[in-house]
Symmetry: C2
Subunit: 286 residues, 2 copies
């Protein structure tokens, strides 16, 4: 059996009791290590499980999936995914390949940022489609997320924005200079970086979607003891420091409820401005 096991969001203890039982008895344990990370490392997980873990990077999952699936019709294989196993389509693909080889699969769901974001007080019923934000470079500034954001805001919905992470990124400078291959340290986009890119793109495309006066909520380390929430305009969030990774951002939709405002006000950069903006432009039930 191939088990897809969600690990939740923060610590090694966020795995479910059922999931831990499978990990302890599985023949092999893989950890998908490229779409998200826990707030603890492989070492902590191995110590807690009492098991060795095989790190599965994108190349292994997408090109060497036969290694992962090997003998899974006879023995149990655990494939661990940070958050919920089906937050990323790549795992649907692995599941499909298992089916083609007549390998039975089972999914043990867990917390995902897609629902964990509810801890901000924003109602999950008021969210539209989720989008992803990647780092802009000098010659690559993808804006394919902008029309999606526009669709959500046009019907008054909140948008969860998942921020870029870079793990196992080759150091191209070093490679060019010395021919040696080394990986850069992992990088995680911050709320401030995301807010800046959004305001920049709004300045170019002028769709009235994510300018510096739009209300947004930044959040970091959801589900952990030191979760942090900051509410304010995108302009204010360009300056916000939410500490260690992982960060996420929500662009607030017009169709909010006053309980959402009351909950968030506590975390506002400027409470008075937050309430004033909300009351004049948000909280409109349609």
């Amino acid at each position: 059996m191939l088990y897809f096991i969600g690990l939740g969001l923060a610590s090694e203890k966020d795995i479910s009791v059922a999931g831990l039982e499978v990990v302890k008895k599985a023949d092999r344990v893989y950890l998908e290590s490229y779409t998200a990370v826990l707030l603890v490392g492989k070492g902590e997980l191995e110590a807690f499980y009492g098991r060795d873990i095989i790190l599965a990077d994108r190349e292994m999952v997408e090109s060497q999936s036969d290694d992962i699936l090997k003998d899974a019709d006879k023995v149990d294989v655990a494939f661990l995914v940070v958050g919920d196993p089906f937050g990323a389509t790549t795992h649907t693909d692995l599941s499909l390949r298992a089916r083609q080889q007549s390998i039975p699969t089972r999914t043990l769901p867990n917390a995902s940022i897609l629902t964990g974001i509810g801890a901000t007080g924003l109602s999950l019923y008021n969210f539209g489609q989720t989008i992803s934000m990647v780092w802009f470079t000098d010659n690559w500034r993808p804006t394919s997320w902008y029309p999606r954001l526009q669709e959500n805001t046009s019907i008054g919905l909140h948008t969860l924005i998942l921020l870029d992470i870079k793990v196992k990124e080759p150091d191209l400078d070093l490679l060019a200079r010395t021919g040696r291959m080394k990986y850069l340290p992992p990088r995680f986009m911050t709320v401030a970086e995301c807010a800046k890119q959004m305001v920049e793109v709004e300045d170019e495309l002028k769709g009235g979607v994510c300018g510096k006066d739009a209300l947004a909520v930044g959040v970091s380390r959801v589900g952990s003891e030191d979760m942090q929430i900051v509410a304010g305009t995108l302009g204010q969030l360009c300056q916000a420091d939410l500490g260690k990774p992982l960060h996420s951002l929500v662009l607030v939709g017009r169709r909010g409820h006053e309980i959402e405002r009351d909950f968030l006000e506590e975390f506002a950069v400027d409470k008075e401005l937050f309430r004033e903006l909300w009351d004049s432009k948000y909280g409109k039930q349609t």
Copy 2:
């Protein structure tokens, strides 16, 4: 400290290891028992936790929250919620009242049907806002969900539809006849019942949103060993039997990806018709 602890979707072992630790040491343990249910009962939970549980119905949570919050500034109180704690806004309200009394809170997220639905192979990035379906009665046929469905379909998104549950419903017939107050057994809406109501409403409102030829996916007992998936037209799902509760339904959006089709085809009532409909009307990237 007031802990909001998600229980996940299926069995008593879906609680996280961290959540179980809190339950074992908390002074009082409440189980919110009116917005969703696990596939196991209070007895199984109490046996597994080795603790007594206080059932918190809607009235207790909304009107007697001071009982729940009592002394929570000095002792630990665990408030257990099926799925993820913030799937229902009512808990944001409890959290807000805790804050007003300077009671610290912490949330331990868990799997929710909002992401567990990813086990159908439908990409969570392609979902719009979630809606709820209640049972129609002779004189109450709410259709406030219809414009929401229309908004989602107009931009090609999938819609998760959460189905009605009735727990602790007074037996009004008995009360009228005998003056005795007794509760009816719990009831859970099925995929077939939901599909029928949707087709009925489409026949009235004619917005081209959820007629009997629209593709949909019914699912039951997500996250459990006997999870069941049935894909087909809404007309076909009116006849589908997905067994024991809980059921959910997804109306498929136009903007699907072929990997979603390939994954779902296996579960189609009529594979050929499913693929034909998908290929002619769905899978359009916009």
